[in-house]
Amino acid sequence: MRRQFLKAAASAALAPALARAIPAWAAGLPPDVVVVLNSGDATISLIEQSTRRVVQTFPVGKEPHHLMATPDNKLLIVANAVGNDLVFLNPISGQPEGTRAGIEDPYQIGFSPDKQWFLTNCLRLNRVDLYRYLGGRSLQLVKRMPLDALPSHMAFTADSAIAFISLQQTNEVAALHLPTQTLLWTLKVGETPAGVWLTPQDQTLLVALTGADAVMAVDWRNRQVVKRIVTGRAAHNFRSMADGRHVLVSNRVADSISILDMQALSKVGDITGLRPGPDDMELSADRRWLWTTFRFDRTVGVIDLQARKLVDVIEVGKSPHGIYFYDRAPFYDNLSPAQQAHVPRAA
């Protein structure tokens, strides 16, 4: 399967025009699909990257919000928040390969870089569940940690010691100590914190404020907000540009994506003129095409990062949220290349 995929990728690289004209699966090759979670429709849309057409839509479970690959990259996990289950997909073709029931309210999910822990943020139930990851599809519940209120996004330090959790209702970030499974501290950061992001070498914790127009830079070791970086209204989620210096942040009310310099802790640009509610993002391996879900538009957009312009809009289902494709640029900025290979991104 992997070899076939590589052949397809090579063909697409050598003859992009041909790849666009003939869908990969029509040529007998596995499709290079983009997986989009339609959280409001309880479905998945599969978009063929080369033609940018929806090639399949199928039911997956109630309120699928986020997705990420297993540490060995062999399975893609879709978390159904209201369905209380995980659905496993083939990460390349997007086809379902099984379900794991009894995972309560998995709104946001994440693996620790050392592959020991699998965390679920239970947004509706106000708690974080810590599972020991046993490989493959095996999870063992270790602890349920009540955490008021609305735990939404998460980020791990490179040494897997700490998981940072944003708490949307109480305007805080919580730091969980994974080895002891205890709450270390909480810190007020600003209105409705959502995306959390660690800069290279875990230097600074960035927190996107969906209730404001800013990203807060936090010196997490000293528990201090050190800078407020103005982005656009309702800063929400992050995605690395995979150049070691810049990170993207989507602004859900401004309908824009800001580019931040992680060294200078400043905004260096904006991508504007987007559709309503840019949310999760995914970046092609060549760092040129940025795919983003437009949460309130029932569409997915493709942005040319060279031109900083929206070049394609693809209709999907209602309230598209998580987005993933296999052949992508490294997701995290604080993890080494070796860790990246084993720890794909949380959408």
């Binding site: 309120e63 139930l125 409705t192 309702a234 509610g277």
Partner: protein, 351 residues
């Protein structure tokens, strides 16, 4: 050919509703959330906007279809429609989402906390689609099963509204309309509405109705109930009437001396007949169905002037109806010695 047309029309309607939802949300709702610091409700508000838009479309469609039918084939001829006007207000309040908004702001946090607490201690939901996994892959099957389960619950809920004395005093607001029309379904006491919202939201949560399907179920149920109350001379035929609650069947539930009054058939035990919401099967199963009695005047007996009734005032305007309903309920809940003569409605549980 017909299927293709239906699919095209359905897709066009879905897209139009979706576009309207996005427009209303982006133009009005989200800027307000941002301005007034409610962005933690951003996603929920987007879903809530759908209720408003879909409700507006539903009201428009119902009006465009049923109002001409009421004009062409009326069951009752009225001198004027003044008494109907207040029901239009009830309909707009209910179907454009105001009741839902109050529920969302007041009861939803309590619901969430309760669920979080129950889950933490291992008490989980009874998700039907975990028992019947085909419901996930076959949306129509899931829709039908949820519809039947909710309707069954609706039948018993409705019986309790008639049987429990203080509850009847609230529900009497609905039954006090003597000119039933396409607008009458939502004529309810606001407290009764809140109870109903809480009951069905809890049930939907318990059995795991997907939020999108809950919207569709509510819209379909609302449209059919508007038809049931419409002032239209319409029969579904002997078989159709046993398949789906018809205007004739439901009108008998509103009839003075039949639908919600002791003494008719076995009503001494049941406090009325024809309680079914969408399907009459439950009435047939639990022996509360009446398919044979011809149409009768509707209302509550003690509204009638003496000697047939006691001339009790249920209020003409919205606030009067709400205030009087609340007062009747409070009197019911007070100890018997403080009950004054004629203080409660004379029908159903009040007798």
């Amino acid at each position: 050919m017909f299927d293709a047309l239906l699919n095209t029309a359905s897709l066009a309607l879905t897209n139009a509703v979706g576009d309207a939802q996005t427009w209303l949300f982006v133009t009005l709702v989200q800027p307000l959330l941002y301005q007034f610091h409610f962005m933690d409700m951003d996603d929920l508000a987007y879903d809530g906007t759908l209720w408003v838009v879909a409700g507006a479309v539903q009201v428009a469609v119902i009006y465009l279809i049923l109002r001409p039918l009421e004009a062409v084939r009326p069951l009752e001829h009225w001198a004027d429609r003044k008494a109907v006007r207040v029901d239009v207000i009830y309909t707009l309040i209910n179907r454009l989402g105001l009741v839902g908004l109050v529920f969302f702001l007041v009861l939803q946090p309590a619901f969430d906390n309760l669920q979080a607490w129950l889950r933490l201690y291992g008490m989980v939901n009874l998700n039907l689609d975990e028992l019947l996994p085909h419901m996930r892959t076959h949306a129509l099957l899931g829709f039908v099963i949820y519809l039947v389960v909710l309707d069954f619950a609706g039948y018993w809920y409705h019986r309790w509204q008639h049987q429990i004395q203080w509850w009847w005093e609230l529900h009497a607001v609905h039954h006090s309309q003597r000119q039933l029309s396409l607008w009458s379904d939502d004529r309810n006491h606001l407290l009764d509405d809140a109870l109903q919202q809480a009951f069905f939201a809890a049930l939907a949560l318990l059995i795991g109705v997907p939020p999108g399907q809950f919207v569709a179920l509510t819209l379909m149920g609302g449209a059919l109930q508007s038809l049931q109350h419409a002032n239209i001379r319409m029969r579904f035929g002997p078989w159709g009437e046993r398949l789906l609650v018809s205007p004739r069947f439901h009108r008998l539930h509103h009839a003075i001396g039949y639908g919600h009054e002791l003494g008719h058939q076995n009503n001494a035990r049941l406090y009325g007949c024809n309680f079914g919401v969408l399907f009459p099967w439950w009435d047939m199963l639990f022996r509360s169905a009446d398919f044979s009695t011809p149409p009768q005047p509707v209302g509550i007996r003690d509204q009638l002037p003496p000697p047939q009734g006691r001339g009790v005032d249920y209020g003409r305007g919205f606030w009067a109806q709400q205030g009087l309903g609340l007062r009747r309920m409070v009197r019911r809940l007070m100890p018997p010695r403080s009950l004054g003569a004629g203080s409660n409605s004379g029908d159903a549980a009040g007798v």
